[in-house]
Homo-oligomer: 340 residues x 4
């Protein structure tokens, strides 16, 4: 860390700063500049909070140099991580693309079976469907709960696809762990730290969605919570962030893909359904994601969006999804990526 002192800092204040940083375990290096005096701290930035230093009288600001995450960083693990899902049936990362598809919510056995048949045939390799639904309104459909989980498991087995579903509360972790192949942590829970710790204590893969106003660094810090508990199987998901643009549901931050990949070994996929909320934009955003070297996409598909219990209008119809998968396969081939 670097401590920048105020222009009017006094000598006793400088001495106090030097003492404090030594107490905190750093070796200070004082540089008196033409306009400012700074103190370089030799030691591990993560040993202490920048805040404690900023509160010392005479300090103007504290600049952090080291990355705050460790196990999620590229320095910690040079190679791309490859996350196995469904006992290794599908791999994500290192050139292997996840094609996750399914309805927003599990609504019935017949309904999910029909959609699963379509997405399997089109080439998807992981089936999604929500049993616990985070809804802005308490009066909206909240999901089928455990019944939904069982249906998801059964249909996943029928079509031979691993299944992923959202977990919203620490108390649901054992149940979701039992029935699903992969946990999904939704955007609203990206900083639900108790939930991150809880899934971190399992060994099931975790699909961690970026929070609506999370920076890329925040996302990696949340991944670090899971990794630090011992679960290395984290797949990140860009799903758009809040912005002033009012014609799309969120703003898809496509540059998060190479941005994450430069700093971290973890796979990252893109969810153009939630990012845009508009089926007319989903196919081109899915193509762009793969071109940007994302490790897969996550697309909602419904055979009758107007009767979907939630998020109908952001779902693709099965033929639209099949056509998109054709295009994605050609692009993947051009770029040397494979779809398990």
């Amino acid at each position: 860390m670097i401590v920048v002192l105020r222009t009017d800092v006094s000598e006793p204040q400088i001495n106090h700063v030097l003492e404090r940083v030594q107490e905190l375990g750093f070796e200070p290096r004082l540089i008196r500049g033409e306009f400012r005096t700074i103190v370089g701290l030799i030691g591990d930035d993560n040993k202490t909070a920048a805040g404690a230093l900023e509160a010392i009288p005479g300090v103007e600001q504290v600049l952090r140099i080291l990355k705050p995450f460790k196990m999620a960083s590229r320095e910690f693990h040079k190679e791309d991580s490859i996350v196995p899902v469904g006992k290794g049936k599908v791999r994500i990362g290192g050139g292997h693309l996840a094609m996750i598809a399914g309805p927003c919510a599990v609504e019935s056995l017949e309904g999910l079976r029909a959609i699963a048949g379509h997405v399997k045939k089109a080439g998807a390799n992981i089936l999604r469907g929500g049993a616990f639904k985070p809804r802005t309104s308490p009066y909206a459909f909240q999901g089928m709960g455990e019944d939904g989980l069982k249906i998801l498991r059964d249909v996943g087995d029928e079509v031979d696809m691993p299944v992923v579903t959202e977990v919203m509360d620490t108390r649901q972790v054992p149940l979701v762990e039992k029935w699903a192949d992969m946990f999904q942590i939704g955007a609203r829970n990206m900083q639900n730290f108790d939930l991150l710790k809880e899934v971190g204590q399992t060994r099931k893969p975790v699909l961690l969605k970026r929070g609506m106003s999370a920076t890329v660094k925040d996302l990696l810090m949340s991944a670090e919570y899971v990794l630090a508990e011992g679960n290395p199987n984290v797949v990140l998901c860009e799903r758009g962030v809040r912005s002033f643009e009012d014609s799309t549901r969120n703003m898809l931050d496509m540059s998060a893909v190479p941005n994450v990949k430069g700093q971290s070994h973890l796979p990252i996929i893109v969810d153009p359904s939630h990012a845009t909320g508009r089926p007319d934009l989903i196919p081109s955003m899915a193509m762009a994601s793969v071109a940007a070297k994302a490790d897969g996409v996550h697309v909602e598909v419904h055979d009758c969006p107007e009767k979907a219990f939630s998020d109908g209008p952001q779902a693709l119809l099965p033929p639209q999804f099949a056509s998109l998968m054709d295009d994605l396969r050609k692009l993947a081939t051009l770029l040397g990526r494979t779809i398990d």
Copy 2:
């Protein structure tokens, strides 16, 4: 709701739309305009999701007219709600101001006792202190847990102030309910819906902080979750939202105060400490909050910010807080508000 049809909508599509909205329980009114055809839906907007309508072929957009929240709305409860805290010792709302102060985290009995003495003397009426801390990094201080709760309770009793503290996980609700007078739901958990339901099932007041990218409507919808479970004692808190401005920790949305008050009967206070992250900005923002008719402020105070375990630099020193309280009292008097 109003359904706007596409310019190229066909007559069979229009008929299908009319049928569907009737199936969904609305009475449709068709208006064929010069440029567009629209359908006005007579009935309760909240009976169905706008999404289901947007997914009908020929529909371009669906405009919602009714507010999505009910129990939180001013129409539901005309008068300002007054929320009692600590067996009615302190009232918030309806002209009664909450002056919540204390350290970011409970760090020790002696430490909290000293700070509590200062803020009590300065005129604060509720003591705050975190025992469970939501930290971006898994390697940062995570709070003292139950030990912290007990210290907070003891010190609150010593200085005769009700106490408020954050609850982060559904499993912690009984514990926090036991020791504290008021739950705090932090910004990161504003849409942790299971947690909202859980505190909604108690009757302890809830201080609900606005999420970092939550709209005012989102905040009121989260309050609705608590109210819908039967707990009427919700106090909202504006604490800044994420923005592009990089010289403050968040952007304090001061207009949220009158904005909430126009739509809802619930009290709303402001937390300038988290909103700005800068002690030099806290006093003027606290004054502005009361001038904007907020029902109180929430300020972090620490007697040695440079040794605070978390968020030291955003805390006021006890003399700064005492001076601010003097100014706030004069302003409250001018505006006809009282501090219990």
Copy 3:
């Protein structure tokens, strides 16, 4: 437009609303719903400002249905517009990709000549270079002015590439029109309406960059200013918007590409250099842009970024650009697009 009345609206207020909207040239249709009364206005939304209606007593909100732009809309011109640059040497739109490259600023004849040789050889088809530079600081290099324009013209002729350069002020329009093949309106001037009108009165193509906090609709409205003056040759450019993410210079809103294309016939290209500010992210974002069906890319290239007078670090080196062009060509072929 649709006028939503307040729940407490009185009959005299309703009558006044009906009179006012008739005065304004609309035919009103009153719908009395279960919870709200609304008035549908038959007529052209653009005849009046929503504001005038919102200010009528008893009105809660006014919902606009028609798009506010006309000549920029897909309804006005069904086919993709193809914009010719440099007397038709290069076409942009309708499957023809612009590959605009060059240094941020024209710094010298020799410097530009060297870079132009590289980008021409790599396959770029339009040369860029700034002579008037919009700089945040008044003390930063402000561009070579007319001398820079002449150098750009000369080098463009030498390498047989049309040239594009920024115009910042109405008084510079004749000069830039004389020397360049295409005007660039920078992000900071997207709503400099006098400048838009002035370039609208020429027939030279205009590269209109999205403002830092402009919505897609705002961008199309600014294009409308140019079109309304009689100049049909507008190419839009997504270059990132301001956001809370602090690890990239701006946030590239990739979905703006299909979003614009759905609503407008105008071509849109992407500038990953300004959007990200990071050379490590530029190649994947350029690939993603073409995959998203953008009509081209705009990339800064410099042969010695560390000595560039401005924006050096966001420039690609000539070999990096050549490698990117190879990848872009393969992708364009797969997608059936051509580069003139």
Copy 4:
């Protein structure tokens, strides 16, 4: 500035960095840390662009320590600046509050005369009214131009109030200088650098509005453009920034007031009309502004908002404004501020 080197930086790269920074006129200080090597640069940060340093191989990031503005900074001018308007009739800053009021646009002599009478009587001290209007749509009312300026001048003289009006283009500067007492630079032109230079060459005071996505630092840099040309009479204006919140027109960043005042000697006022776009929020935001120690407010007033040519719904009615002025006067007295 501080140059942070990459973890994999080589010794030759370090030597090259040291050479380059010396060439650029800095004295380097190398610090080899446990995890990172950094170089502190002794010298004036503003001598060179951070960009040029970031582009040197082996450099990871460059941290700027000095403020980029000089003449706008508190260090340059310790005391609050007091800006005289209308030959010193009204002072802004240093405890003197500007109460700027009037219609959005000058619409007619009679109309302006009526409104001016109201605001004068209520206690406003500067009259505003737009003659050149920046409108998102080319089809909207663009202002009365020079005729509007003359009306504004005449009415200002009649009621003995200095007048302020917007200038949008460099070519309008002489005209506006002739008729008005103060230039207004609108939010959309905050970074129209040629316009800033042009008004900088006059000595008339300039009301500089914050851009819709400008940081506080950006705003101060734009002020620096005016100051650097020799015009010291700059008054800043916070008028809200773009955000995701969709229930207000913009988000009023109230903390910009003390934030600016800490760094700069320039006065700053607040415009709650444009910031919120809602008359129900304007009075409390005006009160909050003065409580936050702003040097005044800027409020739109219209006697018949439903017939206003632009922005009617964000205007207060004359009695609302009079009532607000009463409250503001009491608050100003409490805080020891004066209204000329």
